[in-house]
């Protein structure tokens, strides 16, 4: 049996100022799964995400990515395996051209020359931004920047793609373009969001995090149909949205 793509066990973490954000999180994601991580603001979603590639070091518990336990000597390997796309593309895209930004990750992994160019071209093609390689990121629309931000981690060929609030501030067309891109990707996907219809559209399974623990884990449609559960954790479906009437993808 192959190791799961991601295995988090008993993960607890307190910030240096003493604020405890995670109280023992358990999460197992198999290879190729698409999982939504739901939760209200302040639930600990981003703190959890920052543990997945060793930005934060667990106070207690373990994080395993593809069977490799996150530790000082494996952090480089784990960062290649876990690609995080942050919420604000302006935080992610910091170089003068799209090409350089998409090349930054694989170049840090040691790729050079034709291999590097091939990785960049492939990643840009995956998000439908081939024609924009030599443009400065700040001249692109928000939707385009977000797709380029996805390309900057795809070029590292991650095993798991983690997206933090990918739909925030996007117009409906950009939102749909992004979901088309995401549905076409191979890697295991962890989608951090409180955009519940988007979670239903992309992820068959959802995990609900609140107060630093996993409070529910199951099929997205079931989870979203449980009004009492959603209400208890400050999540609400958009007006008139009925998850049971959304056709399966």
């Amino acid at each position: 049996m192959t190791a799961p793509a991601l295995e988090v066990q008993g993960l607890a973490y307190a910030y240096p100022d003493g604020h405890q954000a995670l109280f023992g999180v358990d999460l197992r994601i198999e290879r190729g799964e698409r999982v939504a991580l739901l939760g209200p603001n302040g639930a600990g979603k981003t703190t959890l995400v920052l543990h997945l590639n060793g930005i934060h070091t667990p106070g207690a518990g373990t994080v395993r990515v593809g069977g490799v336990q996150l530790a000082k000597d494996t952090v480089r390997d784990v960062r290649r395996r876990v690609g995080i796309v942050f919420q604000d593309p302006d935080d992610q895209l910091f170089l003068p051209t799209v090409r350089e930004d998409v090349a930054f990750g694989p170049a840090n992994l040691g790729l050079r020359g034709p291999a590097l160019n091939a990785a960049v071209d492939r990643a840009l093609a995956q998000v439908g931004m081939e024609g924009f390689a030599d443009r400065p990121p700040h001249h692109l629309s928000l939707g385009q920047r977000r797709r380029v931000a996805v390309a900057t981690v795809l070029s590292m060929e991650p095993d798991i793609l983690v997206l933090d609030e990918p739909t925030s501030n996007l117009d409906p067309a950009s939102r749909r373009e992004l979901s088309t891109v995401l549905r076409g990707l191979d890697p295991t996907l962890l989608l951090v969001t409180h955009d519940l219809p988007y979670a239903l559209e992309l992820c068959p399974r959802s995990v609900l995090l609140d107060g630093g623990v996993v409070v529910a884990d199951g099929p997205t449609r079931e989870l979203l149909s449980d009004e009492a559960l959603l209400a208890a954790h400050r999540l609400e479906l958009p007006y008139g949205f009925d998850p049971s009437r959304v056709p399966a993808r």
């Binding site: 995080i84 942050f86 302006d90 935080d91 992610q92 003068p96 992994l109 700040h138």
Partner: protein, 255 residues
């Protein structure tokens, strides 16, 4: 908000021979030319005319129109004002110009500053008009500028517009709530906005760093560029300072 377009004012896209020259050659040639100009004795006038002609030739090769350069010379105005004040303020023997007694040494200083500064600014405008900001930084890096400084400068270029946009949104939000700065008493509000902007930018810096770490950044930018500069490019770029230094040599010889 004109995201990213504010800085486009100096660069003029084109495909001239000057545009194609590697940035490091142009930067070195520019520096050498300015040094030659600064070393020229101000008592001899003709070399300055020669330098101006050389720059006109460079502008013609780069297809940069005179009006484009002239508009960007405005940056020199504070220095011009300073230079114009010198004949009135300097001490020493006076000469009569149109009935006004002006300091002779002040007049020479004013001429020297005006001529040398104008030539330097024109050369800089031509460099900036034919070299994108990005290439300027790459050129400086290839000339041996410490990579940390180059990184800081490129972050500045990348985020100047983002931060200016943020500041503009804060201003609009202030004014939407009826605030218009009219007198010094309003300064604390503006100062607090500046403080908030500083903290936001600082936090953004931290988030950018996190995102860089997530992609394997370990403190050094990956070095991607390894191509050597062809000797012919250096030779072409050297033409300007070489011709100028011939004029310089003649000027000193003729004294």
């Amino acid at each position: 908000m004109s995201a990213g377009h504010g800085s486009a004012g100096l660069y003029r896209a084109g495909h001239s021979a000057l545009h194609r020259l590697p940035a490091q050659c142009k930067i070195a040639a520019h520096l050498a030319f300015v040094l030659v100009v600064v070393c020229t004795p101000r008592e001899t006038f003709w070399p300055y005319a020669a330098y101006a002609l050389l720059l006109a030739a460079v502008a013609a090769v780069a297809r940069v129109p005179a009006g484009f350069v002239a508009r960007r010379l405005v940056i020199e105005v504070p220095f011009v004002l300073f230079a114009l004040a010198l004949p009135f303020l300097a001490h020493g023997p006076r000469v009569d110009v149109l009935g006004v007694g002006l300091s002779e040494s002040g007049l020479w200083s004013a001429w020297g500053i005006l001529a040398k500064a104008t030539l330097g600014v024109i050369a800089s405008v031509l460099l900036a008009a034919t070299t994108s900001q990005r290439d300027l930084l790459l050129g400086l890096e290839r000339l041996g500028m410490p990579r940390t400084i180059v990184q800081i400068a490129s972050f500045m270029l990348r985020y100047a517009d983002v931060i200016a946009g943020e500041s503009e949104r804060m201003r609009i939000a202030r004014e939407s709530r009826g605030f218009t700065p009219r007198h010094l008493g309003h300064l604390p509000v503006v100062a607090k906005s500046a403080g908030a902007l500083f903290i936001r930018s600082y936090e953004r810096g931290e988030r950018v760093h996190l995102a860089m770490l997530s992609r394997g950044y370990d403190g050094a930018m990956p070095r991607l560029d390894s191509s050597a500069t062809p000797a012919s490019a250096w030779a072409t770029a050297a033409l300007l300072p070489l011709l100028a230094s011939v004029a310089l040599a003649l000027a000193w010889a003729g004294r």
